[in-house]
Amino acid sequence: MPKLLTISPVTRIEGHAKITIQLDDNGDVLDARFHVNEFRGFEKFCEGRLLWEMPGITSRTCGICPASHMLTASKAGDEILAVSIPETAEKLRRLGTLAQWLQSHALSFFHLSSPDFILGFDSDPAKRNVFGLMEADKEFARRGIRLRKFGQEIIQILGGRRVHSTLAVPGGVRDPLEPEKRDYILSGIPEAKETTLLALEVLKKIHLKFAKEIPEFGNFRTLMVGLVSKDGGLEYYDGGLRIQDGNGNTIADHLDPRHYSDYFGEAAEPWSYMKFPYYKPLDYPGGMYRVGPLARVNICDYIETPLAEAERKLFKSLGGSVGVANNSFYYHYARLIEILFAVEKIELLLCDPTITGTHTRATAGVNRLDGVGCTEAPRGVLFHQYTVDGDGVLQKVNLIIATAQNNIAMNRTVKQIAAHFIDGSKGKVTEGMLNRVEAGIRCYDPCLSCSTHASGQMPMHVQMVGPDNELLDEVWR
């Protein structure tokens, strides 16, 4: 008898979502879907607003990665003003992007995902959270929280606030960085570096501990998309798009992000509010691609900072003969490598004397009616496209969010994990099985999110329903 399992809501992600798992007569997994059941509507209600407000409005898309939206909106604004922003402004924006990576990645690894790893997938769900982590390893949890705090502090120094800061504007950034504040940030670098290296050590032990489970965590070949610098290095603020296949072949390189709509299409499914972007030449759903840390660290030729570059080489060795780490579990590894890069690069940027320059803003009127901004948000490449009238009033807004670009891959990951870990033939699902399915989603650190762990409860409701709507089994947690 076919059955449907529903996991709703999915916890320890940012936002509201559910997972449904369709079982066949034998209790085997037929299909599994990741449904995003929230609707935000930013593309619509930004219409009619002024271009200069967009960094502030779009940063409200998220409480975790607002700086990425602010920066991308400002870049789209630069395009519309047709200005080249001052050198110092670009460096401060780069600093903001890296601080955003740092705090968001730290949150994903330490607060949201590591409870699964340190305490175990099958551990008591009431304690499988950041508080349980504090009990189990106080120092590790403390370091993780402090690392995130460091990223947030940088954002606050640059833009006045930790969340929804006001650093960037079309044309540059609002305020220069004062030398005393630069020195303050620099004083935090050694501890941040130490914590990241410690986390990498812990993660490598996790790889060994879960060696049997990892191969089922979204292990498949897909296209990978991200920005690279002119010479192929890891890029986060500018650069061109590189598209690689699951075998490491570059199939397109240095594409101009302004023409993203030539390369990527967006499909929609009736069962989710999240769109399904795909690479146009391979159509939907064959054009499935992944973005974010896994893609970025896989596709770049090198990382410009020494410690991160050494880790990148180890990371690539996980990919076997093709040199591509295709397993979504390695998002966590790539994320930590990126934190390391961010810490190293922040130090480099701060040691550059021009970082405290006082000319940080270019002004201009509306010189183009269309602009695309593109940066690498923590979860992957982010596009904002604005069309304005001659007065700078928004006529059309298109936001392509990183998480959406992982949508097809997340669905496939859910299906793979469900097929491996869920055995519906016994008519019974365990909490640990479901947590593994959720953990598959958490690899991508999807930005739909809020940290429900803070409440100490996991409001997850799973029903196993027969074809005639008969409730076969039910799990609350």
């Binding site: 002024l50 407000e53 960094p55 502030g56 006001t166 002004t363 007065d391």
Partner: protein, 241 residues
Amino acid sequence: MPNITLTLDGEQYSADANDTILTIAREHGVNIPTLCHLDGLSPIGACRLCLVEIEGSPKLQPACTTVPAEGMVIHTNTEKLQRYRRMIVEMMISEGNHHCAVCVVNSSCELQDLASEVGLTHVRFPYLFPGKSLDASHKSYAIDRNRCVLCNRCVRVCHEVEGAHVWDIAGRGLGCTIISGMNQPWGESEACTSCGKCVRVCPTGALIERGVGVSEMHKGEDFLKYIVTARNKKEWVAKGE
């Protein structure tokens, strides 16, 4: 100049017989909240925030336009007045589109300050979310009617101080709206001198400079008293006159 005696919140004061209750109260350090009132512009009693209770009178009176009579006993901060003032601000907020978090004057907005002053912690009325327009056709400024509270300051400063009379209020009731020129885009108004006085006196983020982002705009209407005082005292006289 004739003087009168009146009682404000239990204290007896002597005052100029031509002064309004608001002027007298402020002279003696008695705070009465206002919004549409601005020193240097004519009082119109539009916002009703400065309503006071006068013993023997069944109606509440706006302090900004009421000249007291001899022996009046006035209460400026009763529980009833506090309740009414909160309700007025509540209605202003619920009938506009005031999204402070993404507003250019966030943290330096008179409506925000007022909400705090009258103790507004939440809005009980349903938000109307009206479809209001934004006009950015002026080369330096923009008007976002979503944030307008119809205080009429812009209309008055343009008419009374600048002498251009670009602004007016059209419509009635909930349909009231600020219009420029002959209800045409601001940028097409031939009367506008682009002086920016309307922007400076606007208490909210309705009249703004183009190019400013969230929380970036800080207004200040201090300029007004210097202009008006200087004009009244004929301090600005060209050489040779």
